[in-house]
Each structure stands twice: as C-alpha cells, then as structure tokens.
C-alpha cells in the first residue's frame, strides 16, 4: 500500500511546486471559490508566483476567474475538457483517496480491500458529503475507526467505514446480500486491492 509520500511524489513529479499547490487546492474543493490571498496562504508559495500561475491556468480554461463586486475569486472550471480527470488526479495524489490510503497503511497486512463507494466514487459529491468506505479484511471496526480519526479532520469529511471479515463477505455476496451486491455494481475507487481481488474474495465473477 502506498504511503502519502508516494502518491505525493506523483504530483510533485507531474507538476511544479506552484501549479501543484494551486491545482491541489482548487481541484480538491471544486464547489468552492478562493481569493488570491487565501490561495497564497494555503499554497505556501509567494504571491507573485501564485498570480502568474493563476493567470496561466485561467487563460488555459483550467480554472475560472470570477469577479464578485470588488473581489476576484478563482475556482476549478467544470467546463474544462479534463475537469473530471484533474479532479480524480488530485484526489488520488493529494486528496481524499491519498489521505485515507496513508491512514490505513499501518493496518495494511490485515486489509484485503479498501474501496470508496457512494457519491464520491460516482463523482456526485458535494461539500458536505461523507466518504463511504468498504473494507474487507481481518482488521476490526474499532481499529479502522481509530486509524481514520485523524484523516477525517484532514479531509474535513466524515468517513463511514463498513468492515467485513473475508468469510462474512464471501457468504453474504453468495447469499445475494442486498447492500453488498448493490455496492459491487457501482463505480468504486480502490485504495487497497482491485477488482480482481474483490472478485477473488467474493469467489464469483463480478459484473462490471
């Protein structure tokens, strides 16, 4: 399982410092608009560098520049052709997925599957959405909750884990358990394991 620094490294390699900072902020909270000084403060880079970056990104249509009265705000641009891709990229490298993955790392040897499902996986989330997390493994609910406690503050969202031991998962899926089978049909974002592992644990081929 990757650590936060591994996935962090991805975005550091892909983007220069300022671009990474601006994109991380704007594309992890796509419903929010930020003004210049907010961005500078959050990014931890200089004012001039941020201003230049914001101009480049808005010229390219990656972010939008919004004027409200005398304030200028910047926000991720949903009309950008790669809006969804950038959003997913940020989530996986520095956002929700990365943070949760890192938080679960100490329990790695007892987690077979960790997957985000629900509104966030469908990319239909809003500011107040919880993160719904399916865990299959030997780790207990108590351990998962403790491990994720800090992460909740970091990403500023509730995380709702549902934890299944592998045997229970297999028998429930086989028995046609409503909740599990519904989740298995939806898009999910894997943090630990993958579709193949999931199918293996369910001991049946999954429609997907």
């Amino acid at each position: 399982m990757s650590t936060l620094s591994d996935t962090d490294n991805l975005s550091r390699t892909l983007f220069g410092k300022t671009r990474r900072a601006v994109l991380s902020l704007l594309y992890s909270q796509v419903d929010d608009a930020f003004y210049l000084r907010q961005i500078v403060r959050a990014a931890g880079v200089g004012l001039g560098a941020v201003q230049r970056e914001l101009k480049q990104l808005s010229d390219a249509g990656i972010i939008q520049r919004i004027v409200r009265g005398r304030q200028v705000y910047y926000q991720a641009n949903p009309q950008c052709p790669v809006f969804a891709e950038l959003k997913a990229l940020v989530m996986k490298t520095v956002g929700i997925a990365a943070v949760i993955q890192a938080a679960l790392a100490p329990l790695a040897d007892r987690i077979r599957i960790a997957a985000i499902y629900g509104s966030i996986a469908r990319s239909e989330e809003y500011r107040g959405s919880d993160v719904d997390l399916l865990i299959v493994g030997e780790a207990t609910f108590a351990e998962i909750v403790s491990a994720l406690h800090q992460a909740q503050s970091t990403i500023n969202r509730e995380i709702n884990p549902t934890v299944y031991p592998p045997a229970e998962f297999r028998s429930k899926v086989a028995a046609g358990h409503h909740f599990l089978n519904a989740v298995l049909k939806e898009p999910v974002l894997f943090l630990v394991g993958d579709k193949r592992e999931l199918a293996r644990l369910a001991k049946k081929p999954l429609a997907h």
Binding site: D132, F141, V163, Y164, P165, E168, K172, F179
Partner: protein, 118 residues
C-alpha cells in the same frame, strides 16, 4: 433495562442492522444512567451525541471507546435513513461487546461513586 436489550441481541436470525440498534440502545442507556447519577440530563438537541461525550466526564471513559460509540451512532443514523444493510455481523458483534463493556464499567463506577442508587 440494558440487560434485557443485550440478551435480545443474542437472538439468532436478527439482522446485523437490528442487532446494532439494540446493542447501541443498551450502551446509550448505560451512558445515560451514568449521567443521571452524576445529576445531569443532556440537552434535547444532539441528544445522543452529548450523552456519549459525557462518558469522558462521568466514568472517565477511554477516548477510544467514546470515538467508537460515536461512530456506531453515526452508522446507526445512516442505516436507519439511507443504506439499509450497511452493517456487518462483525460490527454488530463489536457493538455488542462495547455495550457489555460499557455496562460493566458504568456498574463498577456506580458501585464506587453512587452505591445508594444500586
């Protein structure tokens, strides 16, 4: 009363959702009992949340226990209103153990701090 709930929990064929609910109620009752013994009532607003948090001050419960109980509270809210069935048997078992543990802790605390109530 909490004892009756916990005994019911062990009935087989109850769905994990239901088992969680029963065990959770038993835990909440124990926490409420401790609060009442200390001479307080929780405000009606965010009632369950407050009762759970009060455990830190009444029986001086372990922060990890309070965290878990609050997580079960949220899980219960979700399963009631949105996702029926998002509770595993494993979780129901853990909630049951937590409720039993809490009940024992509260009883122990009552014996030493408010024996007149028992």
């Amino acid at each position: 009363m909490a004892d009756r709930d916990l005994a019911q929990c062990r009935t087989p064929h109850l769905s994990p959702d239901w088992q969680l609910n029963i065990a959770y109620n038993a835990a909440l009752q124990a926490a409420t009992a401790a609060l009442a013994a200390a001479g307080y009532r929780a405000a009606r607003d965010a009632h369950h949340y407050r009762v759970i948090q009060s455990l830190a001050h009444t029986i001086e419960a372990d922060p990890a226990l309070i965290l878990q109980l609050d997580k079960f509270r949220k899980k219960r809210n979700i399963t009631e209103y949105e996702q029926a069935g998002a509770v595993s048997e494993q979780e129901a078992i853990e909630m049951f153990a937590l409720a039993k543990n809490l009940r024992d802790e509260v009883e122990k605390w009552l014996r030493s701090n408010h024996p007149e109530l028992l």
